[in-house]
Amino acid sequence: MSEKRENKYFDIHKPVFWPASFLIVSFITITLVIGEPMETVFADIQEFISDYGGWFFVLVTNLFLLFCIYLGFSKLGGIRLGGRDAEPEFSTAAWFAMLFSAGMGIGIIFWGVAEPMNHYLNPPVEMGTAKGNALQAMGFSFLHWGLHAWGIYALVGLALGFFAFNKKLPLTIRSVFYPLLGERIHGWIGDVIDIIAVLATLFGLATSLGLGVQQVSSGLNYLFELPDNVTTQVLLIAAITAVATVSVILGIDKGVKKLSELNIRIAAIFLLFVLVVGPTLFIFESYIQNLGYYVQNFFKLSFWTESYTAESKAGWQNGWTVFYWAWWISWSPFVGMFIARVSKGRTVREFITGVLLVPSLLTFLWMTTFGGSGIFLEMSGMANIGEDITSNVSTSLFVLLDAFPLSGIASAIGVVLVINFFVTSSDSGSLVIDSITAGGKLDAPVGQRIFWAITEGAVAAVLLVGGGLTALQTAAITTGLPFAFVLVVMMYSLYKGLNREYALTKAEETKADLSAYESRLKDVIAKRGKSNDKPEK
């Protein structure tokens, strides 16, 4: 539809753009040609990676988080993004609001009800009592959406921000490796890194879009009894991608910015609505208790690897924890770039504390409100929603809303919200991918962004055709794995870069002041040192 615009004008970094596009287009073609059998291929790949690489994901996400916390509390925490005298571009309150909005998206709406309910109904570890299972369910949901997720984003965001603002390198993933590779980041190694980043972001985003469209389809089915199948979903992707394209054409100020603001408002109202019509007191009480449980069991949950679980019962972690870790890793360039751009002028310490805590706490509230309400209904026997949710996760939000007053309107709002998030994710996602494939430029021509917006939609559609949820999860896991290696190296590189910056500023501060003073003192003494009272000159 906007194919003509594609050729209008391109400003690309060829060694990244073409290989990345080629890989993506071949992926789309292969999946379409092979068709149905791809589902088992996807399932096999997913199983293979999570069976053999699951422990690796668990290990590195913990490492990333600990590394971030270390940075925040070490002497490096005083380094300011943008240099010593940089001032925050946004006030603290506005910055918090933006971090909040970074934490909101399709994922949390899709899984907000589904995830805690699932863990409650199929407990990863049988706790013996309903109460125990419920707490554990919330604990695992918090684990997946909490500090670890934001630790990954904080790492990428901080690295991007530091090298872009302090070292004046282009805002793209390869820049982060400057301390290790030096000028070689502009060579083929840098290209490979950026290609991996593009693929990871694109597939991570497509996963999110795929989930979103499944949910929209379920919602429409619930509201208007439209058929909830792959055809509807693909048509929806086409339609929503078209809207996203319009938003791209309108530009950031008129398009994505307006929509995101609208979105955050709707989401806030939505949250308040469920808080009010739902079990309000229970939500507040359990929010506190869930937080306590999460803190108390933090290490147990985050280092748990199912290693002593019986063979027959194992596999839970692959579908959940490993999937999430891979998903977060795969789209960390997306979130990372956003938080980097709004965090100029913050110190490393402020950055880490803000990015780890602010969105986590909000997400926890969302999870408690939606998932907790679901568990509350199920536990108290007020409504039997568990069966519907386990049979089709994408319906879970609507099943929950059905149990409360005004469910029709609420579900409609839910659908609008997901569509809107789809549009903004697709729009801002194409901005990020576009920026990476254009060598870090932020003002690349619109034609390219339209190309990426369409590609994202196409990948999401193809994944749905080729295997639904499994395919979506496989996409995230497969691209997450190579990018996880990139992140491990990134940790080292960032550490090196920050340390050098610290040493430099320290030396500068004391040396410059002192040695300048000394030479002045010497001059004065040279002038007046002689005991004959008159100066020499």
Binding site: E87, A94, E508, A516, Y517, L521, K522, A526, G529, S531
Partner: protein, 285 residues
């Protein structure tokens, strides 16, 4: 009886400072000027003669002479000038000595002292309990237009009271300035209130500002300004206003909360004395 203390560090900034003091002295008479200098000899260990072959008399005498000569540039009567030297020992000691003295305010040249690091001025601001005037190479201290930043606290009352006597002739202008941030703007996505709320707030603040000023001398000559900070930091908003309205001096009151010996100064003051700002700032404590 006004007693000022100025920090000199043997750099070229010393002369600039003296010329600025001369300017200041034209509108606002200085009765006593202390020239403070901190001798830093840490790097010169052992016999000083090794480092300075020319050194044939006490270093204090040399510095005394040099600084007195530099001070003449201010045009002040020589018997109004007194050189005070501080040596070795910590800067904290120097600060507490000054804090206990009868000095009314201190003058500090910003850029040169910290060579762009901002560490020294920040430390000064915290350690000194006296009002400090931060100036830069490009500042003029003619004080034709003074801006007092007011947040309705007792500290800003102090700042106002400090600023009023600086007005000695009718050419001078004083602006009482208040900057605020709309509570709604704390969450930009749910703001909603928009323009109207902002205007209404501004009106209320202006009323409050008028009341705040009411008791002061020459209250009706003071210009009142209220501004909304928007996305900028409060410090930046004040600075930008001052810049665009040809202000010669910004006066800010600083909370006197002490943490052991160090004064905690607010973020606004911290922003105003940051290196990238080019206007003289007077911190009143």
């Amino acid at each position: 009886m006004t007693r000022a203390l100025v920090f000199l560090d043997l750099s070229e900034m010393d002369l600039t400072l003296m010329r600025q003091i001369a300017q200041l002295n034209r509108t606002f008479e200085i009765d006593k000027l202390y020239i403070a200098h901190y001798i830093e000899l840490q790097e010169f260990t052992g016999d000083l003669k090794v480092h300075f072959p020319n050194l044939e008399r006490p270093i204090e005498d040399i510095l005394n002479e040099e600084l007195t000569e530099r001070a003449q540039e201010s045009g002040l009567d020589p018997d109004k000038i007194e050189v005070v030297l501080f040596q070795d020992g910590s800067k904290t000691n120097m600060m507490s000595y000054i804090n206990q003295s009868d000095v009314d305010f201190c003058i500090l040249g910003k850029k040169i002292v910290h060579q762009g690091t901002g560490i020294f001025s920040g430390r000064m601001a915290r350690l000194l309990h006296k009002p400090i005037l931060f100036t830069t190479e490009t500042s003029r201290l003619q004080l034709e237009h003074i801006l007092v930043a007011i947040d309705f606290s007792s500290f800003s009352k102090k700042a106002l009271n400090f600023a009023l006597p600086l007005l000695t002739n009718s050419q001078q202008k004083l602006t009482a300035y208040h900057v605020f941030r709309l509570p709604g703007a704390y969450f930009p996505f749910v703001g909603g209130g928009g323009r109207n709320l902002q205007d209404k707030q501004a009106e209320d603040k202006l009323k409050r500002l008028r009341k705040f000023i009411a008791g002061a001398k020459k209250a009706d000559e003071i210009e009142l300004v209220v501004e909304h900070a928007g996305e900028k930091t409060l410090g930046r908003t004040i600075y930008d206003y001052a810049r665009s309205h040809f202000t010669d001096l910004i006066v800010v009151g600083v909370k006197g909360t002490t943490d052991k010996d160090e004064l905690l100064i607010g973020s606004v003051a911290e922003q105003l004395i940051a290196v990238d700002k080019d206007l003289p700032v007077l911190l009143v404590k």
